[in-house]
Amino acid sequence: MSQPFRTEKGGRIDRGEELTFTFDGEEFHGHKGDTLASALLANGVHLVGRSFKYHRPRGILSSGSEEPNALVGIYRNGDQTPNLRATQIELYDGLEAISQNRFPSLGFDVGAVNDLLSPLFPAGFYYKTFMWPKSFWDRVYEPIIRSAAGLGKPPRTPDQDTYANQFAHCDVLVAGSGPSGLAAALAAAETGARVILCDEQAECGGSLLSESNASIDGKDPANWVHETVARLSSMENVTLLPRTTAFGYFAHNFVALAERVTDHLAEPDSKLPRERLWQVRAKEVVIAAGAIERPMVFPENDRPGIMLADAGRTYLNRYGVKVGHKVLVATACDTAWQAAFDLADHGVEVVAIVDVRETPPDNLIAIAEARGIRVEAGCVVTGTLGRKRIKSALLGRLMTSGQVASGGQIDCDALLMSGGWTPTVSLYSQSRGKVVWAPEKGAFLPGISVQKERSTGASKAVYGLQACLEDGYAAGEAAATAASGKTATITYSSAYGGEAGSGGILGALPHDRNASRVKAFVDYQNDVTAKDVKLAVREGMHSIEHIKRYTTTGMATDQGRLSNMNALEIASGTLDKPVTDVGLTTFRQPYTPTTFGLFAGISRGDFFDAVRKTASHEWVVQHGGVFEDVSQWKRAWYFPKPGEDMHAAVERECRTVRESVGLFDASTLGKIEVVGPDAAEFLERMYTNPWKKLAPGRCRYGLLLNDAGFIVDDGVIGRLAEDRFHVTTTTGGAPNVLATMEDYLQTEWSDLNVWLTSTTEQYSVAAVQGPKAREFIAPFIEGIDLSADAFPHMSVKEGTFCGVPCRLFRISFTGELGFEINVSRRYGEMMWETLATEIEKRGGTPYGTETMHVLRAEKGYIIVGQDTDGTVTPYDAGMGWAIGKKKFDFVGKRGLARTDLVADGRKQFVGLLTKDPKIRLEEGAQITTSENPATGTAAEGHVTSSYYSAALERTIALAIVKNGHAREGQTLYVPMPEGSIPVEVTGTVFYDKEGAQLNV
């Protein structure tokens, strides 16, 4: 055990449990209860990182989630997670941490040359240079900038961890478990309200865990925390969530919490998620986010060993770590004095307390004198020395003239500073509330609530232990009553000590140094100095948003929580305008950086998007079928036999269907049952075609437009009875068609008595197509006369398939005699296996979507979405025949009459045959009149579908061509990189133009 800066006793660490960890490969020891930061400090390690731009050595600045400097990578399971805050990483045995943004090592970093060159790199320098020569930006300048930028190294391997998601509702959500938050949660819980209390730290208690100078109800504050947490844990209406950050406040009181479940464990249970996203709908929210201490802006305020005073006190009292042996305290407010006293009481030499104020409170001076601490009032730090750790500080005495006189040099190995406190208004601001400037507090405070929330305690600048407790109880009671109407008599605990004190300062401190030579940092991580902020203002950046974006102040991973107020004051001073005129930048979620995996949750692989499978799926897998994705569905694409490629398989499938019989799974097509006395009238209004005279037992192809007049969907619709239709849609269009139908039915035509039901997943559909289709299905069908006369093309009847009820359609998308058998989904596998097993015996074949596409193209049937693209009208598609001319109205009728939709020169649906029958055009290829069109030539159209046709023993294509219907027989060109392909414009039907094959 060699932790030279560990106190002999005290703190909340478990001294009985020693843990081993490494930092940049060097082995160290710490204790259970330590953070990585406290363990490093216990070992005397302050230098932990390099800054973003100048690569300056940096140490641990804070003890919380706002830490800007101590960002490290953690190695685990063979990969690393970058940019984690050492102040938040709970130590576990075997932890491996590495420093970032340095090369080759943390101690010797070549990037530090930037610090020497820094006069060339003021804010926004990159906007002013790197423009010559032009080609150097992409090739030289930007690559150099990119490799210099960035902090940690990104993870390289797929994340193996899992993440969970939890929705929750509660009456009162309390964010933060310091004195106000605990009091609020307790008060709300005692009323019986459902309470969720979360805190980003591992332990509840907040500042109470490092309080040395107070008592609550006569007890040590930590004991009060212990008892209060125990009480809350025992209550069924309370959910306690430590290690959980309320990171986002959304509309309608929806708050997102990130719970870190396993990062602190040496050997996590593999069943546990790494993190859990809580999505909480709270009736009331209590924001008890506390306040954070502000750094002081003085020259060289960034050396390792310089730390916020409260952090120094926290390391001492909570973690049992002395931040140095000779500590200088620089402050503008009372609270830092207590840090000095605590350190002195632990035997640390406090070399001086330097207070900006001319007259700090007498009682503090008296306590300091009693401990023999030198006090310098009306003094500031004007600089520091020491490369990798502070060695001494320069002092300056504030003169009444406003000048600073040198106050000598003082040796130290740590400097604790406090510029005062900034209430954490992030969550309030995220709730879309407008913060209000409180000049007497020197802070922006929550203003009017726009959602059901209230801030309490230090987050609204209520300071002092007793005041925070009282405010917390009151907030919790009020929230519970507002949420649930419940009340209870709460006994308030009362505190002694932990006084708030006074003081605080904003902006840069005056000094006697050469202003152009020294750097006083405002934003540590992004290396933004007071000079940078002033330069931005000089250059005309007068809005705080411009200053932020130009200098990058407030854009680091702490999102400006440490820097915003100082930057604002410097800008305000430079502009000579009140801070309210400069404005405060908006706080955006997340409150602290939040893991992507948390948002993605279980949504990976097959859970990323639902996979919809049809009844034939397993059979297709077993028989070597290949699938394609069509919307969420897996559809069989083709069925290659051994040795066949796609082309060979499709050619064979096509031939077999044309010559014999084929089996196709058509289950993915959308199906909607349209029922009711006005069903025919409804379809009459929805589709272009007439429906009223369609006899029960017959089918018709239906074309659906939008009201703009363009084709959006199609499908065969069968009339089962006077008041019942079986509507089919495209696979991808099914949900939209139903939604559109519901929209018109409910909101335009509520006079119609119709019910719509999606039956897509209720039926399995087998399409049997080919000249032998009838004889093939006959043995399985009962109750339906399949003869051509009794059951002609475009008919539908109900019967049975292998004894189970079926709806049998005689329809065709191949141009051959065809049937589609619909059975209940529960018999889908039976139907498919029965038919598939039988079909090969009979010389037929199963076929997939590719063959379906080829066969329909041979017949010139369109596929909506492939041959049409949302800009095609029925007339363009050559489907004027599908429009009921006598109909009073239908969806799209008025749209179709608009000028451009009836203008000459529209692109129309045609066939194309290449002059060379072996050349297959590329789908999407453009069509021109000129063989060698100049660049910029407007295309005449494009190829929408293109295949090799086995039946025609040549290639065929479908296309959309300007004035195409009038251009049959003309030669056009398809210009390709390798040369133009001449094509002849034809009709769209290539095979069986008379339709003889359909009517057999």
Partner: protein, 101 residues
């Protein structure tokens, strides 16, 4: 994620159960013959896109499937009221003071 009240189911549910149907009270011209191109583009595409209180349609797609209407402030995203299809649009004056808060 908004919280939406379905006036048919009479429950508040998260936004993911609903689909927004855009501006409400835009009637489809009933006689295509008598509708001018200007009327038709007005129906098809022209929207008030109000910054402030709008009437809009929602459908409870993962619930009852019904369309209903809501008044919502597009600046705060707070709802003022929900009402069934066919009911007249409430005027701001008739709404209770606290509605939508």
């Amino acid at each position: 994620m908004l919280l939406i009240y379905c006036p048919y189911c009479q429950v508040e549910r998260a936004e993911v159960e609903f689909r927004c149907g855009g501006e409400a009270h835009i009637a489809r011209p009933s006689d295509p013959e008598k509708t001018t191109d200007e009327d038709w583009v007005e129906f098809l595409y022209m929207r008030a896109n109000t910054k402030g209180v709008i009437a809009e349609r929602w459908r409870h797609i993962h619930g009852c499937g019904r369309f209903f209407n809501a008044l919502r402030d597009t600046v705060s995203d707070n709802f003022l009221t929900f009402y069934k299809t066919g009911e007249p649009m409430p005027t701001l004056e008739t709404l209770p003071q606290e509605a939508g808060k």
